[in-house]
């Protein structure tokens, strides 16, 4: 406290000295100013008293002269002009008056020149003519000039017949100015003679006659108040003297006035203050300057001494501080706690321990300059304690805070507990911050918490899962069990048996679908799902989707349309299976949740993509179905989420499809969005970036002489799309929107000898349809130009008619260059005359006469499969594990088995090992015998693993006979054994 008082003493003393000096200066200035004013006014009064006396003498002289001249005229009697001029003109030259007048009582005048005029002498006429007293007044000459007239009454007389009773002389303003001119004040003063109301008689100012009434002028030009003006007017009326100071047109001026002593005239003087007090003011200014200079000098000396003393003291303090800092630095370097001291007012760092560099990777000097650099280390940005928060800590109080920091150089994260103590050091309030490393404690606590959270989460997930599964599994199971009981009961009633069997089958399928989805979801969520990336054809993908979904949509009377906008690449690299799964989910749902007669639009569009090796595609599935509420849209991608309403309640679903879809899209790095409104339908949009394969042969078309094509489609957009798709191929595309136009174009081209390379006709066009158009073209140009029909419909019904009309091939919509090429290639290579390929369907009786080796460890499954094969006219031998299957095949005759159906999970030897053993065996058909996996492991990885082990196909359990037949048909080439197919040939 003592030290602080001592330190404040010097400024207090300086302030005190300054205040005292200012007070003394102000008093001095006031006293001197007053004295200057008094001296100035006294000086003014002295000068103008003298002027007034001079003017008085001038007036008296004029009146005296006039009186004498009057007496002369009286003695002379009748005056004529010659006598007058002889008498007056010399006097005019001598005394300097401007004119001489004879005045009659009725105001008429005659001057020396004999000119007649009138004179009123305002305020003086009565005095002159009635009181017979000498008078003085202003007079305006006919041409406008103002003069001052001095007049005296004289004995009545006549001049050139003019009767007069008074005579007068006039002086111009310039003449009179000489009489009252004041040389003092450097010519800056102006003197007026005014009447009691302010009317100006004359003035000494050059051009001063412009002032008619000086009091009025003061009212307009000065800062005098009306009251002050009234006071002046009162003084003038009462013939009192006075001096006032005011500003006239911005100039500080003295106004001095005193009665002239004749009539009510006032001598008025206006002098700039600066002119009167210039000498005094310069002394005053000089004195003030000396005073200020002395004050500054002494002040500077005091400040200098204080500064020197302060600096010396500061250096001592600094040295002491440095010593302490060094000691503290040495101590803190070995600790893992960081120490900071902040000034509470400036928030500047007074001290920071050097170990901050080791512990946080921050340069202590940098932190000292700006404490905010600590923020760089903060993980959550909340390390910096705001000034307000620090200020709020009471003296001797503290706060605690825990923050995570990252070492700036190593990136290591560490937890610190920050303790802030608000304390006073030498009466200066400081914040001391101690940052203690609490990383180990935090990690331990964190681990415990994580474990706890994980346990709770797992428990919750398990509960949720069990709850959902319990419900979803029990529902179909309940049907299966219930109808099984009923089946046993009503075994003798064939109709009941068929009905129960159908319902059990449906419930089984639903249960299977649920289990598949659950397993799929489980795998995706556990991160064990990987993408099987390979080159695939987008047109093929779309065709497959069309094949699968078109019948479903048609069954519900829905319109299912695939649109391709722009020219998306046809060859892509990605996981076709997963992409198929995504799109099937979306499209199946669209069909499922769209009422009969609705429409589903599936659009594929290419989006702009900056990287040339990628293609960005947008798949949109738009339906006009039941739509979704806004609330449900937020949860649509969550597992087991289903909107509950009267429509969805009737539609079976696991509630996992969209979750799986979303997970797969995420896995592919894409995004899925949904727009929907209840009753208006939904639009799901998936955007994916897929890798582009190396570009294919661009000269392909040219080499096969496909250079020009004609397209006829009533939808102009389709024509434009085809042209866009074909742009990179170099094939020139002409298009028309009517069949007749197509005929005309084809004929015209033919006549010019420039036939189109190929003609592509839409089947259903207004006017001429595709078939009719083709017929007319053929009739006109012959059979050389291939004609294809483009359609999104099933063309089997018109195939015969089309061929008869001259159509070479059919092509499904949407149009893809690759599909187009594959379709027309045989036509140009003349290898196959017609390329209408029928869609392969599983043939009935494909299993008839076949013999299978079945490897199945589960007796029940083996029995079911055996029965099913028997029902289809096939035979089988069963091995109970892989090893037995290998042995049975090795011991078989060539041709004994058509195919091996191999379970995967079996004791002794699993299916993969068994397949590898068979393929590695010496049996003549070891490499060629088709082996198909038959397993409950249905994931893509399982399929891949099966194929990798040497199997030819994969069938999921439970076994679906249609799938088995399709697989066999594909692997064994369709017809049954008796039809002579080569069973040893691999497909």
């Amino acid at each position: 406290m003592k030290k602080r008082t001592g330190r404040l003493l010097a400024p207090i003393l300086i302030c005190f000295a300054a205040v005292v000096s200012i007070v003394i200066g102000t008093v001095y200035y006031t006293v001197i100013s007053r004295r200057i004013y008094e001296d100035s006014t006294a000086h003014l009064e002295e000068i103008y008293n003298q002027v007034n006396r001079t003017f008085g003498a001038f007036v008296e002289r004029n009146w005296g002269l006039l009186t004498n001249w009057g007496q002369y005229f009286e003695l002379t009697g009748e005056l004529d002009r010659e006598t007058l001029e002889e008498y007056i003109l010399p006097k005019q030259d001598y005394w300097g008056f401007s004119d001489f007048y004879f005045l009659s009582p009725d105001g008429k005048t005659v001057n020396i020149a004999g000119q007649e005029g009138t004179m009123t002498l305002p305020g003086a006429w009565e005095r002159l003519m009635e009181q017979r007293l000498p008078s003085m007044a202003g007079h305006r000459l006919p041409e406008g000039q103002e003069v001052t007239v001095f007049a005296v009454p004289v004995a009545p007389g006549t001049y050139e017949g003019f009767s007069y009773e008074a005579i007068a002389m006039s002086f111009t303003n310039a003449d009179l100015a000489e009489s009252v001119n004041v040389d003092a004040f450097g010519g800056a003063s102006t003197c007026f003679v005014v009447d009691g109301e302010g009317g100006v008689l004359f003035s000494t100012r050059t051009g001063g006659s412009i002032f008619a009434n000086y009091l009025t002028y003061l009212g307009a030009a000065s800062d005098l108040t009306q009251r002050e003006l009234n006071d002046i007017r009162a003084d003038w009326s009462n013939k009192r003297s006075g001096v006032i100071q005011c500003r006239i047109t911005g100039v500080d001026s003295f106004i001095l006035y005193m009665p002239v002593g004749y009539q009510n005239y006032i001598l008025l003087s206006v002098v700039p203050v600066e002119a009167v007090s210039a000498g005094f003011l310069s002394v005053q200014s000089a004195t003030m300057l000396v005073f200020i200079a002395l004050f500054l000098l002494i002040g500077t000396a005091v400040v200098f001494l204080v500064v020197i003393r302060g600096r010396r003291k500061s250096q001592e303090d600094k040295r002491e501080l440095q010593y302490r800092d060094m000691m503290f630095d040495a101590l803190s370097t070995s600790l893992d706690d960081i120490f900071l001291m902040l000034d509470i007012d400036s928030h500047c760092v007074d001290y920071i321990s050097p170990n901050v560099e080791r512990l946080l990777g921050i340069d202590p000097e940098e932190a000292r300059k700006n404490i905010r650099v600590m923020e760089r280390c903060a993980i959550d940005g909340d390390v910096y304690i705001p000034k307000e928060e620090l200020m709020a800590i009471p003296l001797h109080g503290s706060i605690l805070k825990e923050c995570e920091y990252m070492h700036q150089r190593t990136g290591e994260r560490r937890w610190y507990r920050m303790a802030v103590y608000h304390t006073g050091i030498q009466d200066i309030e400081k914040d001391i911050i101690v940052m203690s490393d609490r990383t180990q404690e935090k990690q331990m606590t964190g681990s415990l918490q994580e474990a706890l959270d994980a346990a709770e989460s797992a428990n919750q997930a398990k509960s949720n899962f069990l709850s959902n599964m319990s419900h979803d599994i029990r529902t179909p199971m309940n049907a299966i069990v219930g109808f099984s009981v009923l089946l046993e009961k009503d075994a003798e009633k064939p109709e009941k048996v068929r009905e129960y069997t159908r319902k059990i089958t449906a419930s089984s399928h639903h249960l299977l679908s649920l289990i598949n989805d659950v397993l799929d979801m489980s795998k995706i969520e556990s991160g064990k799902t990987s993408l099987n990336v390979d080159r695939f054809s987008l047109p093929e993908l779309l065709e497959e989707l069309n094949i699968i979904l078109m019948p479903q949509a048609r069954a519900k009377g829905q319109t299912f349309t695939i649109h391709v906008t722009g020219a998306p690449p046809e060859e892509l690299i990605g996981d076709k299976l997963r992409l198929n799964q995504i799109l099937l989910n979306l499209l199946s749902n669209a069909i499922k949740y769209t009422p009969e007669g609705g429409s589903i639009d599936f659009t594929v569009a290419e989006l702009p993509q900056s990287a040339p090796q990628f293609a960005k595609l947008r798949f949109s599935v738009k339906d006009n179905g039941i739509g979704m509420s806004e609330e449900y849209q937020e949860n649509v991608f969550l597992p087991f989420s289903r909107e509950i309403n009267s429509v969805t309640n009737k539609i079976q679903g696991t509630g996992l499809g969209m979750a799986i879809t979303k997970s797969l899209v995420d896995l592919m790095g894409g995004i899925i969005t949904v727009e929907s409104a209840p009753g208006k339908g939904s639009t799901f949009t998936v955007e994916l970036s897929l890798t582009l394969p190396e570009r294919s042969d661009s000269d392909l078309w040219y080499r096969h002489k496909v250079t020009r094509m004609l397209v006829a489609d009533d939808e102009e957009d389709i024509c434009l799309d085809i042209r866009e798709v074909m742009r990179d191929t170099g094939v020139e595309v002409s298009w028309v929107t009517e069949g007749a136009s197509a005929v005309e174009s084809a004929v015209r081209a033919h006549e010019k000898g420039l036939d189109f390379s190929v003609i592509l006709l839409d089947w259903k066009m207004p006017g001429l349809n595709g078939v009719e158009t083709a017929r007319l073209i053929r009739e006109s140009i012959g059979a050389d130009v291939p004609i294809l029909v483009l359609t999104s419909y099933d063309w089997s019904d018109i195939e015969a008619e089309a061929r008869e009309a001259g159509i070479n091939a059919f092509m499904p919509k949407p149009f893809f260059a690759s599909t187009f090429w594959q379709t027309i290639r045989p036509l140009f290579e003349k290898a196959v005359p017609d390329a209408v390929a029928a869609q392969a369907e599983p043939e009935a009786g494909v299993l008839e006469g076949r013999r299978f080796l079945v490897a199945e460890d589960n007796e029940l499954n083996a029995e079911i499969l055996t029965e099913m094969l028997h029902m289809e006219g096939a035979e089988c031998d069963v091995a109970v594990n892989g090893k037995e299957a290998v042995e049975m095949f090795a011991g078989s005759l060539p041709g004994q088995y058509d195919m091996i159906l191999m379970d995967v999970q079996m004791p002794v030897m699993n299916g993969y090992e068994a397949t590898r053993a068979i393929r590695a065996g010496s049996h003549p058909e070891a490499e060629s015998i088709p082996i198909v996996a038959m397993t409950a492991n249905t994931f893509a990885e399982d399929v891949k693993r099966a194929l990798d082990s040497g199997m030819n196909g994969h069938l999921g359990k439970p076994i679906n006979m249609d799938a088995v037949k399709a697989m066999i048909g594909r692997l064994l080439g369709g017809g049954n054994r008796e039809k002579g197919d080569d069973r040893h040939e691999n497909p």
Partner: protein, 419 residues
């Protein structure tokens, strides 16, 4: 019957065409009088034209041209040989473009010449004293018109000397008023107020100038005037925007009290001035002070005159028209109740403005006949305004300004073939 049809048709056609031809002939034979749109609209002009037509039964054909285009359009018509019989022009200044010698009749010997007042005649003469037209206009007194009410309220009175005038301007400026409305943008008549006393009081000076024996620079009064204009502008006596002040700004400036004085003529107050804060009654007249005459000066009226096209096919009729206008009975009927200084000695029905009447003694003492504009060969007020404005903008110095004024004068004189 058949043979008479064409004859009948021809007769009918002739009967139809005859009145049209008569109309065209009548129009072609009418006396033509060309004037500015606004000039021809003046009540006394309209009245004298009607009187003429009523009294003589002759028809006058008026060619009215928009004010702004008048000089240009009229000069074009003269050049094309489409000049009117009678041409109205505002006094004798700026006639250079009309080839006075070739186009206009000298009227010195007309019987009505002696009936003109000296002041009016002065405006209608060329430098050689030849009468170029019949003055028929509102004659006015040009001087310094000031706001009497405003000065009274400030305790000030009008100036009687140049010194006082300068003092008055200084005091008004100190009181934050604009002493003089100086319409530098397009108005150029002010210069002749300053120059008139120089040449009216000293005809020898005028002769020296016109003979080429002297130039403006050798006449100190010219430089004095230009210097005064420059100093007045620099002292703020013209206000801050005088270079953008034009004809239409004068009225509002005076009526609002924005300016205290201007150099103009009395009839302007009755034709163009619109009252605002102040009305006509608030104004009075004092001499113009432009540092060329200590006691100031007034200029007599500026007049529109009727000039006769010497090449007119109806010369006699045109002269008859002028004689009709100069008949006391007719001009008194036309000017009845019009505020004007008389153009004719026997003009008794017009009235004079109170401002002029009040200052009549001063006017009588200080009025000069307009001399500079009418007698200086090559004098162009417009050119002078352009050059003085360059000085006021600081583009040229005082001596250069006077030199350019003189060069312009000489060039115009050469153009007129009077160098």
């Amino acid at each position: 019957m058949k043979t008479h049809k064409p004859l009948l048709a021809l007769t009918l056609a002739l009967l139809l065409l005859l009145p049209l031809a008569a109309c065209r002939r009548e129009q072609a034979d009418s006396l033509t009088l060309m004037g500015k749109e606004s000039d021809l609209d003046k009540s006394y002009i309209q009245k004298i034209l009607r009187l003429y037509e009523d009294s003589t039964g002759r028809e006058l054909r008026l060619i009215s041209i928009e004010d702004a285009e008048y000089e240009t359009r009229a000069a074009e018509l003269f050049e094309k040989g489409q000049a009117p019989d009678i041409f109205l022009h505002f006094n004798n200044a700026d006639l250079n473009r009309f080839s006075v010698e070739d186009n206009f009749l000298r009227l010195n010997d007309q019987p009505w010449v002696d009936g003109l007042t000296d002041g009016a005649r002065a405006y209608c003469q060329d430098a050689a004293g030849n009468l170029l037209g019949l003055p028929f206009w509102e004659n006015s007194v040009s001087g310094c018109y000031y706001n009497k009410t405003l000065l009274d309220n400030l305790g000030l009175r009008p100036a009687t000397t140049q010194e006082e005038f300068d003092q008055l301007c200084q005091v008004l400026t100190q009181l934050d008023l604009t002493p003089i409305c100086w319409p530098a943008d397009g108005c150029s008549w002010m210069f002749q107020f300053g120059l008139d006393p120089l040449f009216a009081d000293d005809p020898a000076l005028l002769d020296a100038l016109n003979s080429g024996a002297a130039d403006y620079a050798q006449i100190p009064g010219v430089t004095d005037m230009v210097r005064w204009i420059r100093d007045a502008a620099e002292s703020g006596w013209f206000g801050g925007s005088y270079l953008r002040t034009g004809w239409s700004d004068i009225g509002p400036a005076l009526a609002s009290g924005g300016a205290v004085m201007t150099f103009i003529w009395d009839s302007w107050f009755y034709t163009d001035f619109r009252p605002d804060v102040y009305s006509v009654d608030d104004f009075a007249l004092m001499p113009v002070f432009m540092n060329t005459q200590e006691s100031g000066t007034y200029e007599g009226g500026n007049l529109n005159m009727m000039m006769v096209n010497k090449n007119s096919a109806r010369l006699e009729e045109a002269l008859d028209f002028l004689a009709f206008c100069a008949d006391p009975e007719n001009y008194n009927a036309a000017f009845a109740g019009i505020s004007t200084v008389p153009c004719f000695k026997e003009q008794t029905t017009s009235i004079q403005s109170p401002m002029v009447l009040e200052a009549s003694a001063s006017v009588q003492a200080h009025e000069r006949v307009s001399t500079a504009a009418s007698r200086i060969v090559g004098y162009s007020a417009d050119d002078m305004a352009v050059i003085v404005n360059r000085l006021l903008r600081g583009e040229i110095g005082l001596e250069e300004c006077v030199a350019q004024m003189d060069a312009s004068r000489r060039a115009d004189a050469v153009a007129q073939g009077k160098s």
